[in-house]
């Protein structure tokens, strides 16, 4: 068993690279990313699990980083928006969001893209309904969702062509 007192040390894989940090107990993954590691793509939204803007992938699954103490990702694999482009080029989802004007204020975008990435890995050809269902925990107050759904459809097509 682990008992973590006052300051805990946690090591995990962040965007394929090992990280170690010392933080107070109950520090959330969101705070660890934004305040300790200075990675700000993951957004701080409602803090209640309602908006999805803090979504990251833990072992590939969409997870709310504001509700997850970082101590619990010990030994796990965490992916943030900073980790999905390769060799300096944008991920097809990022390109599609740009082309379809699927980001306005941008606050939901990081969570949207990571949720969409997990969806496309599980289901490379989602229907519109399946996309809407996958995004049902991610709130956007700017776009009306349509450009986001279209961007994900477009990215799905391009990712398949690229293979």
């Amino acid at each position: 068993m682990n008992t973590l007192t006052d300051t805990l040390t946690v090591t995990f894989k962040l965007n394929s690279k090992p990280v170690a940090l010392a933080v107070p107990p109950l520090t959330t993954l969101r705070s660890a990313l934004r305040e300790h590691l200075h990675l700000h793509a993951t957004k701080a939204g409602c803090g209640q699990g309602g908006c999805g803007s803090c979504t990251v992938l833990v072992n590939g699954e969409p997870t709310l980083s504001c509700l997850l103490p970082v101590a619990l990702v010990e030994g796990q694999e965490v992916t943030t928006l900073e980790g999905i482009s390769s060799y300096g080029s944008l991920h097809p989802l990022q390109e599609a969001f740009y082309e379809h004007f699927a980001a306005q204020c941008g606050y939901c975008t990081s969570g949207m893209i990571l949720t969409a990435k997990a969806l496309l890995e599980r289901n490379p050809h989602p229907s519109r309904e399946e996309i809407a269902e996958a995004l049902s925990g991610n709130m956007c107050r700017c776009t009306g969702y349509l450009p986001i759904v279209e961007a994900i459809e477009d990215a799905a097509r391009k990712m398949e062509e690229g293979q």
């Binding site: 682990n2 107070p24 107990p25 699990g49 969409p62 709310l64 996958a134 925990g137």
Partner: protein
């Protein structure tokens, strides 16, 4: 006050030992979607916390006539349990996908209205809850657990370890009214598990309501209005009216008590009409 101790036990026994050692001072989290929300809001400042994420309790097993579900099974996995249809339906529309990946069935039983949807189908399915302490293990009807919480003496020293759910008989319906189509707490939720005989007479009825009282509740008067009666418009109306009168909902940002009470009646009616419809379709 800040958190000084964060325990992550690797087995149920360790978790039970910690609970017994630290008592009510120890705040227990399953998936964390309730507790961390309260911490983020500044409404809870726990000094000692225990996460059950690595303590096992994540198995689903079919055991003669019922399904045993570990308290740590996530809502996302509950959504796949087709044998327990109304429970799976409730899980599929609880929160958003990321919440379902984190939240657990055990933790959901500690959520207060308008959250805690899983207790509703579990009551309709006549589930029992398994509790473990240093003194041993026991199972009690889920209804009794809800009646005793908060303040039930067993809670301070006992850990919720599993749910035992009998395989359902008859027709099951789960309906939830929210303010959005998805990712919404309940204005009201209704679960019904109804057994009809060949003459369309109701032999057994279990009806449960969510967000109609502080904790998920059985609508016992609505059930009584059905048992022994033919399932028809008259008995459905009587059951819906009984459900309305026995609801004791709260007013909050989602809905008023007045509205919730009426919706409890309306959704019991809708649920029973679906049972009647499924029945006539099957004949």
């Amino acid at each position: 006050m800040t958190t000084t101790d964060f325990f992550i036990p690797c087995s149920v026994n360790e978790a039970v030992d910690l609970l017994s050692e630290h008592g009510e001072e120890l705040v227990v989290m399953g998936g964390g979607t309730i507790m961390m929300y309260l911490v983020n809001e500044g409404r809870l400042f726990p000094r000692k916390v225990m996460s059950l994420r690595r303590s096992g309790m994540d198995e689903v097993r079919a055991v003669d006539g019922h399904v045993e579900i570990g308290a740590g099974v996530t809502i996302a996995r509950i959504a796949q349990l087709d044998a327990l249809s109304i429970l799976a339906q409730a899980a599929r529309i609880l929160g958003g996908p990321a919440v379902r990946n984190m939240a657990t069935i055990g933790g959901n039983l500690f959520a207060h209205a308008p959250y805690g949807d899983l207790g509703v189908p579990l009551l309709a399915l006549d589930a029992r809850i398994e509790l473990r302490s240093k003194r041993g293990q026991r199972t009690i009807p889920l209804e009794q657990f809800f009646a005793g919480h908060p303040g039930g003496e067993y809670l301070a020293a006992e850990l919720v370890t599993a749910l035992h759910v009998p395989l359902p008989q008859g027709h099951g319906v789960y309906l939830k009214l929210g303010r959005r189509h998805a990712n919404t707490p309940s204005v009201v939720a209704v679960a019904a598990q109804i057994t009809l005989d060949d003459n369309n007479v109701c032999r057994a009825a279990r009806i449960a309501l969510g967000a109609a009282s502080p904790r998920p509740m059985r609508a016992v008067r609505a059930e009584a209005a059905l048992v022994g009666e033919r399932l028809d418009d008259a008995s459905i109306t009587a059951a819906a009216e009984a459900a309305m009168s026995e609801s004791d909902p709260a007013t909050d940002a989602l809905a008023s008590a007045w509205y919730r009470r009426r919706m409890a009646g309306l959704y019991v009616r809708k649920a029973l009409e679906q049972v009647a419809h499924a029945r006539s379709g099957a004949q």
